[in-house]
Amino acid sequence: MSLWFSIVLVAIGVSLLLALARAALGPTAFDRVLAVNSIGTLAVLAICVYGFFDGRPEFLDIALLYALINFIGTISVLKYFRAGTLGDHVPSEKHRDAP
């Protein structure tokens, strides 16, 4: 069974490299955000499978936390793109984009 887990881990690693290539190449910023979001999902899967591979399924708690942080990170980066701020203070008028 450990052999199959290692095969899945290798597949996830190759996919991580492909998504990393897209994050490096991406023409627009949204390509990079999409690739980083996929890298986060693949990292969650890799943590889960590694927990089973190592015989320590307690790693699943870390994966749960990583999934939450991944979602919040993506949404906050997109909000930063759109508003120019994370909501701490109102930006001055010359920096604010037209809606």
Partner: protein, 115 residues
């Protein structure tokens, strides 16, 4: 004993198909044409790959607490990744990124991208 073997084989098949889904989704993420097409590859990673790999781990889980955590991770990914993809698509649309409108032969279609 027989049932255990059947469940293990099902878990292995599910894990392998999920690994293939993850690989093809990442390939699509790398190879497709623009942001909106690459979201298709990201969607394959988030639904097909993650769903099948988590289902395979669920079949191979030794304890019920592990199963509960796997179901929670699956529910969380199923709720958050479509939301994040939708937010990226909406932000790209409002930032003025035009979708590619090409047929498979490469010829430009008549309709312009005035979405």
């Amino acid at each position: 004993m027989m049932i255990d073997n059947i469940i293990m084989v099902a878990a292995i098949i599910s894990l392998c198909v999920g690994a293939l889904g993850v690989l093809f989704g990442a390939l699509g993420l790398l190879r497709l044409g623009d942001v909106y097409q690459r979201m298709h590859g990201a969607g394959i990673i988030d639904t097909g790959g993650a769903g099948l790999i988590l289902f395979g781990l669920l079949l191979a889980s030794p304890d019920w607490t592990v199963s509960v955590r796997l179901v929670l991770i699956g529910l969380l990914l199923g709720l958050t990744s479509p939301t994040a993809t939708h937010a990226i698509a909406r932000a790209a649309h409002f930032a003025g990124v035009k979708p590619l409108l090409k047929t498979s032969s490469g010829a430009q279609t008549d309709k312009e991208a005035d979405v």
